[in-house]
Symmetry: C2
């Protein structure tokens, strides 16, 4: 988002997959870990060691429920390594919604999920964007240094305060701001639906089909129908399903089940790219 | 070896590679970790979690320098998991050679290596094998239950102690016993050469070429020529090279360099199989 690379959860082999898909490992400055089950963080130590081998210099921010600090510290201690870069670990409160990253162009918030471990989801939300200069109306004589004022919603005035260019005559409304929520792992919860109101794209775990709903409840996971219900009730535009149980050899059943509830659903399969601005 | 599956070191993604090469994850009962640098053990937690998900019941023995217990305990603590099977961690003394596994048909010993961290290699050695029954000489009248005595080197006697079948008349010498040593990571050392005397197959790290010998010394690694020198001086039959620095796009230079010193050298590339009994 806005030239900032972020990674959400980091299972074993994440560094190999990043490399396989030509994603720029060294440019990631923020890594969000939803909870400390192995499939969500075991790729992190290797990724950190690789950044160290590549002599990374920039700070790296990690966001995780309590425990990650101790896990990483133990590993660094026994490898007698001091990383080449600063690692800043932000310990998340998994009980309440929190603003965890305030970037000039977007925010990241954590929201409580309901799993067997302290766990949270993440909501990425673009801030309101600038007004756009209307190319049909702007005179070729307008000096470019006035553009910034117009984009910020200001009129252009002279030294005496006289309005030279009235904002509304030269601008168009801003592009819309998009939002994305990542929700894994969790049972269905109405509180979560509330937290997700107005989110454009929701990634939601769908570990099981409804035929295995008992197993889902027992392990505090969702079915594909649960995920679709969350997306529908939250008024989302698009739903991405992931975190499928290895028991399903093919994923069509999960997709069908979700689409029956929420049609604009896709499978977040390994290597697929989804653009937030192409809904 | 002798129907026992063992894993030596366990880098990130080891469980995926085991699966890719159809190796039976659940049958591994012994995992040997040479030292606690990430590339030698970061695949272990994920492998353990997977065994747990598959409801493994049998004990699993881990052998490692000090620290693995604390690393794994921290991870299990924060994942609130109690594995479905017993994990027995054997902490290795990396200062002296030790017998660490005494199987009816083979032994495993640890030997000190010389790296930046406490580190050891592993020597797998078949015990002397039984005599073989000579199919040319054994009479068809010999009851099969006497075979075991003959294989153990005994004569077959009657109740009065009279020799019915004299061992040397019916047996051939045993097949030879093979040995294999795994040496990673280490600088060249004459003590190690001593420890490896008489080993048939040596796997030895060859992180660098001789052109980068300074880098090898600095990081306490070996060059391909170092590895070959160890194999030659130890009187090995075959040398396998591995642990190549990512700086080498092709490995031919490493192989050439080693073969100039020790001709029977091969590259231990991902997925290749070497048989100890086919030298």
């Amino acid at each position: 988002m806005h030239n900032e690379y972020m990674l959400v959860d980091c299972g074993e082999g994440a560094q190999m997959q990043l490399s396989r898909y030509d994603l720029p490992l060294m440019r990631i400055n923020h890594i969000f870990i939803s909870h400390l089950h192995g499939d969500h963080y075991l790729g992190l130590p290797g990724l950190l060691f690789t950044l160290h081998l590549h002599h990374r210099q920039n700070d790296l921010h990690l966001y995780s429920p309590r425990g990650l600090n101790e896990i990483l510290t133990t590993q660094f201690f026994y490898s007698r390594s001091v990383p080449s870069f600063r690692i800043i670990i932000h310990t998340l409160n998994t009980e309440t919604r929190q603003l965890i990253l305030d970037h000039p162009h977007f925010t990241v918030e954590s929201v409580p999920l309901h799993h067997k471990l302290p766990c949270c989801g993440f909501i990425f939300k673009e801030k309101p964007k600038s007004l756009r200069i209307d190319p049909q109306k702007v005179p070729s004589t307008l000096p470019p240094h006035y553009y910034k004022a117009l984009k910020n919603g200001e009129d252009v005035v002279d030294e005496a305060g006289k309005v030279l260019y009235k904002n509304e005559d030269y601008t168009l409304p801003p592009h819309r701001s998009y939002s994305y929520a990542y929700c894994s792992d969790t049972i269905y919860s109405q509180e979560l639906v509330q937290q997700l109101q107005g989110t454009d794209v929701i990634y939601h775990e769908a570990t099981f089909t409804s035929a295995d709903a008992g197993k889902a409840r027992e392990t505090r996971h969702s079915t594909a129908a649960d995920a679709a219900t969350v997306a529908r009730q939250a008024g989302a535009t698009k739903l991405l399903l992931g975190h499928f149980s290895a028991r399903y050899r093919e994923l069509h059943t999960l997709l069908q089940e979700a689409r029956a509830v929420f049609p604009n659903t896709e499978l977040a399969e390994e290597g697929r790219t989804f653009y937030l601005t192409r809904l």
